[in-house]
């Protein structure tokens, strides 16, 4: 809350100043939004099924971001429509209140623009490996705190975030609670990105959460373009957590103080298709499914299936995608992913998964997205997941 108060204090002189600068900031501001219709069906062999329709989207307004000070606000909504069954399992609505309609303030921040340095304070949507927005539903995760991004050094980007509260994608409230437990004194993140080497990109993050657990992440990406139509890439990731605090739970599926995960990826991208082989092995007991919030960005991630679980899973994943030739009604892509996960531990979840999608973009703003995945579990009932998403941006 002190950060929010600081932001408020920064805002008041701006408000009280009035005058043309303030009016110009609004006049040159922007408004955009998105409408979505989402259908989700979960079909399990022996457990309760779930399905729901949701309609919603977002509306965002921001003042002129070219000014020294700027501000933005965004609301997301997800409203149940039509028939449904066990809709809380779809994670589309407000699970704090019986899976009723979910209306949230996902962004409300004041920004300072210092050229190559930007500071935002307030409610934020983030895009980091262990704290991100997760846009796989209508309403994303969001975070309350401060985020600084500096790009003053050549080829280098530095991120420094402090998060004091987190709002889950199924809640309207910001709480001192992450996906994997209470955060007490908050989470501080330092991210450093370097692109100064030819073909290489280096990324490193450190999340300091003294009351939960801290995590170090390193990633190296290599890209080689022999010509305009072919791209080869290879990447490695490493996630290591420790320093468990009072809220840490080592075998937590979403994250704990014993993550020790290595992942690798090799891929080939042609003009209209791609294929990649992804691998991950978690040598620790803790999972890393959601991390602190959102969905942890590990290479072995499909729609539902992933290699981010707890009890040391080892996962192989083949992803391929093909872009169909553009036609009068837009362009389409189809994709297929196969996931193979095994664990040495008794408690581990062994499964094979098959994922396919068809996505059609009528134009840059309008899309229809059909996603299907089936998971064949070895030690629990199988499950099938279907999502149909129509989206329009304006």
């Amino acid at each position: 809350m002190p950060l929010l108060r600081f932001g408020a204090l920064a805002c008041l002189p701006l408000l009280l100043a009035g005058g043309s600068d303030f009016d110009d900031a609004f006049a040159n501001g922007t408004l955009h939004g998105q409408a979505k219709l989402f259908y989700y069906n979960i079909d399990k062999a022996h457990d309760d099924n779930a399905h729901a329709f949701a309609a919603g989207g977002y509306l965002k307004a921001s003042t002129d971001t070219g000014k020294r000070f700027f501000a933005a606000i965004r609301f997301h909504t997800s409203q149940p429509v039509g028939g449904n069954e066990n809709r809380e399992q779809t994670a589309l609505f407000n699970n704090d209140k019986g899976a009723e309609a979910l209306n949230v303030n996902s962004e409300a921040y004041l920004g300072w623009n210092g050229g190559s340095r930007v500071l935002k304070v307030g409610n934020l949507m983030l895009n980091t490996p262990m704290m991100n927005d997760d846009t796989t539903r209508i309403v994303p995760w969001s975070y309350q705190g401060a985020a600084y991004t500096g790009e003053a050094l050549p080829n280098t980007k530095v991120q420094l975030n402090y998060i004091q509260k987190i709002r889950s994608h199924t809640s309207g409230r910001y709480k001192k609670e992450s996906a994997s437990g209470g955060i007490g004194r908050g989470i501080t993140m330092l991210g450093i990105h370097y692109k100064g080497f030819e073909h290489l990109a280096l990324d490193s993050y450190y999340y300091y959460a003294p009351d939960l657990y801290s995590t170090f992440i390193a990633q190296i990406d290599y890209q080689w373009l022999p010509d305009q139509e072919n791209l080869f890439c290879a990447s490695v990731q490493y996630f290591k957590s420790g320093n468990g605090g009072r809220y840490a739970q080592s075998d937590n599926r979403n994250g704990g103080d014993d993550i020790d995960l290595v992942a690798a990826k090799v891929g080939y991208y042609a003009e209209d298709w791609m294929i990649s082989l992804n691998y991950s092995k978690n040598f620790g007991v803790s999972g890393i499914v959601k991390g602190y919030g959102g969905l942890a960005k590990v290479f072995t991630t499909s729609m539902v299936a992933n290699g981010r679980g707890n009890y040391g899973p080892e996962t192989w994943m083949v992803k391929t995608r093909y872009d169909l030739p553009p036609g009068r009604w837009g362009k389409s892509e189809v994709a297929f992913t196969y996931t193979h996960t095994r664990s040495d531990a008794m408690q581990g979840d062994d499964f094979d998964a098959y994922y396919a999608h068809w996505k059609h973009d009528f134009n840059a703003d309008t899309s229809l997205y059909l996603r299907y995945e089936t998971l064949d579990h070895h030690n629990k009932s199988d499950a099938r997941y279907l999502r149909l998403i129509t989206a329009y941006r304006f």
């Binding site: 809350m1 929010l4 108060r5 408020a8 008041l12 408000l15 009280l16 009035g18 005058g19 303030f22 009016d23 609004f26 006049a27 040159n28 501001g29 922007t30 408004l31 955009h32 939004g33 409408a35 219709l37 309609a55 919603g56 989207g57 509306l59 307004a61 003042t63 606000i73 609301f75 909504t77 409203q79 149940p80 429509v81 039509g82 009723e100 309609a101 209306n103 949230v104 303030n105 409300a108 309207g172 409230r173 910001y174 837009g330 009528f362 134009n363 840059a364 703003d365 309008t366 129509t390 989206a391 329009y392 941006r393 304006f394």
Partner: protein
Amino acid sequence: MHTFRYINAAAALCIAGTPLFAAEKAVSLEEHGKQSVEVDSIADALTHGKVKGLIRYSGQHRDSNYHVLQDAPTDTSSEKVQAYSTLGGYLGYETAPLYHTSVGATFYTSNPFLGSNASDRKGLGGLYEADGGQDSYNVLGEAFIKFQTKEHMVKIGRQEMPDYRFVSLSNIRMTPFTHEGAVYENRSIEDLKLNFAYITKQKDRNAEKFQDMVRSARVELGSGGKTKVRGSYDPADFGSDGKYAGKDKAMSMAGLIYGQNEWKMELWDYYVTDFINTLYCYGQYDLHPSETWKVTLAAQYANQQDVGKGVAGNVDTWFYGLKAQAASDNGMLFFLSYNEIDYNEASYDGGTIFVRWGTPQMFNSFQVQDSELAGTKSVGVGAQFDLGALGIIDSTVIRFRYADYDMPDSLYMTDARQDRTEATFDLRYSFAKQSGFGIFTQLDGLSIQFRLAYDQFETDYDFDAYKKLHGYDLQRVTDHFVDARLYIDYLF
């Protein structure tokens, strides 16, 4: 009720239009802020709509736990403080009309901001209080489809209903009341406006959910040992907390406004199934004693009766009011007003008028006191000065008011209350306009409003004797308190 849920969802989705007519994104707020004109494609409808936005800081402080909305009859003699300090407002978008039809949606929000928003200071309704604290709230308060021509307007879904007297916004906290239903307005006949509505639900100012029109009226069986419901009623309609727990009830509304030159009359009827019917009449006549002064004489009368099943028992009450107002061309205004509310112990709460669907309409509804309580006889006086128009201080309007509320206060009375007075001071300052506005005029750009009320309660009663006679306390308030409110608004 599902019908309106679908409309809410559809209103959001209709903004999406069809894939073949997609348009550019992120158009400037300035362009969106202009008045929409009829367009001829879905793409234009989507990209040339209207934005409405309000950034509001609001702080309110009352050095008493006297809560006029519920008229709490519990002992309030402690020095408890109610207060909130919040930042929020709303953001909405309505498409440009295509074939006279548009859709819109508005989000409303309020968030704790600076100051103390402790749970034990709740009660004023600036933040979400239903869970026992004072927390943020976000709500999709508007989601509608609208058809409008010069003569007809039909609007269906969640929406602001600002102009229907007993049904209105009452935007005096962070966010206004909004309602869910269908409205039809007709202006086919010159000087005549007809209004019809079927209202299923209402969102309270600081609520996240819409409730039916009986719950929204804040019906309760009783409180503090006093039974408010009189006559026959079905106990199954009330929960263990004494609040209404029966079936949802909707309101049908009809209104007629007719005016010509110097005079104007209004006739309204609000019928809530199995609850009450409210008839409201209003008339005013303008005199011009000189070239620079206008005198307005106004009268109002309302009658409220139970109907159908009568879920709140007997309701049989009325009120009337008289007002004289003088306004000068250069920005001075003076008024004198009188209200009387029926006192009827056979009616709900002794004849108190149900007014919680919008702004209370009594002439002497001031800052804290609404003059709706049973048996109230009130006299109010006031003066307002547009200091910009008077050439004293640009962009500033001030107002002073004073009212004396003479309550039924004999010991034998079932619904006795303390006599009270209220003095208020209001100030409005605009950063965008020099003069020609009032305390509540909607002003674009940045404006500040400061409101102060001083309430004095008569305490020379034998409270113990009253309790001994009736078995519950006569409402007891500290002999005086101050209610202060600050609003900093930026409207775009």
